[in-house]
Amino acid sequence: MPVISYREALRAAMREELKRDEKVVIMGEEVAQFNGAYKVTEGLLKEFGPKRIVDTPISEAGFIGLGIGASMLGIRPVMELMFWSFSYVAFDQIVNNAGNIRYMSGGLINCPIVIRGPANGGTNVGATHSHTPEAILASHPGIKVVCPATPYDAKGLLKAAIRDNDPVYVMENTILYNDKGEVPDEDYIVPLGVADVKRVGTDLTIVAHGRAVITSLKAAEILEQEHGVSVEVVDLRSIRPLDEETILASVRKTHRALLVEENKPFCGVDAQVAYLIQSKAFDELDAPIHRVSSIDAPQIYCKRLEDQQLPDVNRVVREALKVLA
């Protein structure tokens, strides 16, 4: 199986869907001539031309709203946000319009739009460019949110998102763009709402999404090597819809849960996951659920400290040992 990067996997997903469906349009700042701010869309303009690959002005409320309007008439826009942090100036379009219009029209209208781009800290760019809005957006019924952690999932989830008939917001991570992994050449999708057990274990369940999955897998390795603990890592992949069954099945097996995410702790995704576990598997738990999140402050600029603000391997190991104590 070919080994490609997360970035190339995203590009492959878009290329395949552009070929499959002529209603698919790629739109965003610098996606065409510039070949993408992160080169995710590199080469697509040359291959598909300016009707399909469209550079937009720096005007998120305008062009995201335009994409939503076009999707109502059946176009399938895949909009790139240079940072999900920039979605905040388009919040009315993203939440009020894309998220509500199907409901408010009694099901007469749907918005098959995809908005994708990086949503992560850890890149030394300060608080305004480091937001992780998956919990904020997933808290709105009408919206779907996915956070791929690996090249395989990046391609499969993006393809599913493009074919999905609801608004799907794909949150990537710039730190993962160069990560490599096995990705099939052939057509496949990863359905939304299906978690993936990335590592099988028996003593502790770690639930994570996005880059926190990678951090957790490294921590699991250390826990096994240095502490003899068998850790299962559940990658949510999709925040909404949420694969509750896979989370619960793992907790029923290990009886202990640690939840890891790069969000800030207050009302993070894992607040919902913790509630889920206590409400549906309380009797299975041998220890309280613990969480590891970013330290609760706007993202700090100083790189040395930002690395500590985010969940790192050491913190995950430390917290895992507390759950196991």
Partner: protein, 368 residues
């Protein structure tokens, strides 16, 4: 100190209202007597529907907000009467007139207001959120100016599919100061989109007059020049003028795929919404002057009587029929059931409502 605004009003508005100067415009002479009568009927239907809503609101049966279109009928009637198969429209929250004009029934409109399952949005949208996509009507949007980017998207889609069509994106005069509107203007001009931004200028953004809300309040349409777009100002009390000038903008959209901003001067007789006591920002004399001298329905009625398109008896019959239709719609809404508790969680996701082998979603999507 700001430079005093130079008023750029339509020429016809500078004179006392009289017979329309646009009656002989080809787009109006092309109308048969029957079509003219139908246009008048539609305006009368909007008027009586809205008047009926007031009573139902006062009975406490309509919640939320109720923004009435009374006084503005010629805007929706004139513009929408020109639209063809590939012309779409979208508006803000003062959306009843547009809905009735595209052919929504009074029943579904009234039932939506009272939150009934027989409403156009099954009681999920309310007054501000009428939709009829089968009639190219994409709402009904509650956030001021938020629909402008959506309208550019509809126009973009029409152009992308290679269709000879357009989108009319309506907004009030208060919306022109929203950033989303300016972003939409820029995209429409930059990408040559077949869109007409229709600014329905009724003089007040809620309770704030244009002079108190808008820099250079003399002309809102002129802001189009900043984006290299064509613009025009229209007397919105004269349905013939609305049609004549909108037709030019539509031609620009259809033939050249170019955007236009139209500012249509109009007036609302009631408050911003029914929650507005309408006592602080304008005086009764002003309202009376518009009602007596510039009423769009009465002016068109006079026009058609003079043209011998309609007789006084026919006018009366049309109005009585519209009132009766509104009464029936009120009864229909009364008799209709509420949505059920189970309906609360329907129509959130297409994939959830249509789950099957082809859908791409699994897992829990509605949470307890």
């Amino acid at each position: 100190m700001a430079t005093p605004a130079v008023l750029t009003h339509p020429e016809s508005l500078k004179r006392p209202a009289g017979p329309s100067e646009y009656a002989k415009h080809p787009v109006n002479t092309a109308l048969s007597k029957k079509e003219k009568a139908a246009l008048y009927t539609k305006m009368a239907r909007i008027r009586h529907f809205e008047q009926r809503c007031i009573r139902i609101y006062q009975q406490g049966k309509i919640g939320g907000f109720l923004h009435l279109y009374v006084g503005q009928e010629a805007v929706a009637a004139g513009t929408i009467s020109l639209l063809g198969k590939h012309d779409h429209l979208i508006t803000g929250y003062r959306d009843h007139g547009h809905g009735l004009m595209v052919g929504m029934s009074m029943n579904e409109c009234m039932a939506e207001l009272t939150g009934k399952v027989t409403g156009c949005s099954q009681g999920k949208g309310g007054s501000m959120h009428y939709f009829a996509p089968d009639k190219n009507y994409w709402g009904g949007h509650g956030i001021v100016g938020g629909q402008a980017p959506l309208g550019t998207g509809l126009a973009y889609a029409v152009k992308y599919m290679g269709l000879k069509g357009s989108c009319l994106a309506y907004m009030g005069d208060g919306a022109v100061n929203q950033g989303a509107v300016h972003e939409a203007y820029n995209l429409a001009a930059l990408w040559d989109l077949p869109i007409i931004f229709v600014v329905e200028n009724n003089g007040y953004s809620m309770g704030t007059s244009q002079e108190r809300s808008t820099a250079h309040p003399g002309c809102l349409a002129k802001r189009a020049e900043g984006y290299g777009m064509a613009w025009d100002v229209i007397n919105g009390h004269d349905v013939y003028e609305v049609r004549a000038k909108t037709a030019e903008a539509l031609k620009r959209a259809h033939e050249e795929s170019k955007p236009t901003v139209l500012e249509i001067f109009t007036y609302r007789y009631y408050g911003h919404s029914m929650a507005d006591p309408d006592k602080t920002y304008r005086d009764k004399e002003e309202i009376k002057e518009y009602r007596d001298q510039k009423d769009p329905v009465l002016l068109f009625e006079k026009e058609l009587l003079a043209e011998k398109v309609l007789t006084a008896e026919q006018v009366q019959a049309i109005n009585e029929a519209a009132m009766a239709e509104a009464d029936e719609a009120a009864a229909f809404a009364d008799a209709s059931p509420d949505p059920t508790v189970a309906d609360i969680t329907k129509h959130i996701y297409w994939e959830e409502d249509n789950r099957g082998p082809k859908t791409t979603s699994r897992g829990t999507i509605i949470f307890e």
